[in-house]
Amino acid sequence: MDIDISAEKAPLKAQLRVGGGFPITWVLYDYASSGGSWTRSHVGSGQGSAWVDIPTADAAALKDHVLTWAVAAVDFDEDALEVDVVVTIKGSDPASPGAERKGRWSVSKSQPRAFISVRIVK
């Protein structure tokens, strides 16, 4: 779940892409560790593949933070579908493709919700 954003400069923005043609709604949280416990803050919420701004003036200050999307997909189909999940974190440099993390999620009518998390390592 690690993602390296050392090449990105603030301001940062993040995007979640979920395949399978599912409409999604999401809420993004930022977890920060302090003294062995976690504090959670709400970053933003939205639908689909919308970008969300990450409120930090210094990308390095996000080291060891965990960004977690709480996601709900709209799925009326009975059969589960294995879909691609891609998280992108992008800085101010338009030439940079951004840092990316990919995975897979099995979405079904009865299991349409998940948490997608990335830990910022640099």
């Binding site: 043609g21 409409p23 879909v83 299991q111 919700r113 948490f115």
Partner: protein
């Protein structure tokens, strides 16, 4: 209510919109469903609409089905499967926005290829098979295009409550939905799906016969081209139209003594208008067909009027009038039917 209304209409259309002209009764290709999106097109071409269709969800499952169809060089009857790029996982990379932004991509993702095989009871040991491609040009029955259903689902299913500590995996499934939530999203779809949703699709297919069941003996016996279109007009009217062309190759039919059936062309087209209000349905259909075999043309015209009323849960009473004209001779008939359809899904 809406879900119960559709099956009787579909049955009626399947039975009457097309005009049967082929001289070969063993073929099931003269009575396809007029509904643009029915079951697998290959099974429709084989007249085996009741057969179960397998829809492989991966390339591996598709290969398993293909191996089940052909074993030791012989065709296995009773196999039917349908694949689409989306079903095989290619859609796993496409977001909802990707699909809606590019209509061509959406259409391609919903295209299907189907394969089927059936035993031919008229020729023991033989197997008829079909392969077909169907492209849905538009389909308002697809929930992905149903904004009301999506909005309703989003009211029922919201993003999960975050845990106190962050999940440790990239993807962590949240607890599944309750039975009540699953039922509620089922109702979302049911109440927002129009009984007369617009649909259109085109298809093409081949049917082939192997007299001894061996793949090496397969010979194409017909080429099929097909289209179907349905338009909802307001809340009460539905217009359906279908067309079909079949080229039938020369073939041998029947048990010895074998009869050689010459090649022929069959074309048919039909249109239907249905009006429904509450539990009452009125429907009028007109269809025309043409068949040519060895420079001999025949024409057939059929007109049908149907009135249906739902008299109980899933139970319909219908009055029907039919007029058919074959070349210069006409005939009419009428009657009443009681139809009962029910959900065979075991109660939970």
């Amino acid at each position: 209510m809406n879900a119960r209304l559709r099956p009787p209409l579909a049955l009626l259309l399947a039975g009457s919109l097309f005009v049967a002209l082929s001289p070969n009764d063993a073929r099931g290709d003269d009575s396809p469903s007029a509904a643009p999106l029915g079951t697998s097109l290959a099974l429709e071409l084989l007249g085996a609409n009741d057969m179960k269709v397998i829809r492989p969800g991966s390339v591996g499952t598709l290969l398993s089905e293909a191996r089940a169809l052909v074993q030791d060089g012989r065709l296995t009857p009773g196999i039917g499967f349908e694949v689409s790029p989306f079903g095989l996982g290619i859609g796993g990379a496409l977001t909802y926005e990707d699909l809606l932004k590019h209509p061509g991509r959406y259409t391609l993702s919903r295209a299907t290829m189907s394969v089927g095989s059936v035993a031919d009871p008229a020729r023991p040991g033989s197997v008829r098979s079909a392969a077909a491609v169907r492209v849905r040009l538009w389909d308002e029955t697809d929930w992905r295009l149903n904004k009301a259903a999506i909005a309703c689902h989003q009211q029922v299913v919201t993003p999960p409550t975050p845990p106190d500590a962050p999940p440790t995996d990239f993807v962590t499934p949240a607890p599944g939905l309750s039975e009540q939530q699953v039922e509620a999203i089922g109702r979302c779809l049911e109440k927002s799906r129009r009984w007369n949703a617009s649909q259109a699709s085109v298809g093409a297919g081949l049917t082939a016969l192997s007299l001894d069941g061996k793949v090496s003996s397969l010979g194409t016996d017909a080429v099929h081209l097909w289209f179907g279109i349905g338009f909802g007009m307001g809340g009460a009217f539905q217009f359906l139209a279908s067309g079909r062309y079949v080229y039938q190759t020369q073939q041998e039919a029947g048990m010895p003594p074998v009869v050689v059936v010459p090649s022929g062309h069959t074309g048919s087209a039909g249109a239907s208008v249905a009006y429904r209000i509450a539990r009452f349905v009125l429907q009028g259909e007109g269809a025309a067909g043409w068949h040519r075999q060895q420079d001999d043309d025949s024409l057939k015209l059929a007109l049908t009027g149907v009135a249906q009323i739902e008299v109980g849960a899933g139970m319909w009473f219908e009055l029907r009038y039919e007029y058919a004209r074959m070349n210069d001779a006409g005939a009419q008939s009428g009657g009443g039917n009681l139809r009962w359809s029910y959900d065979a899904t075991p109660a939970k």
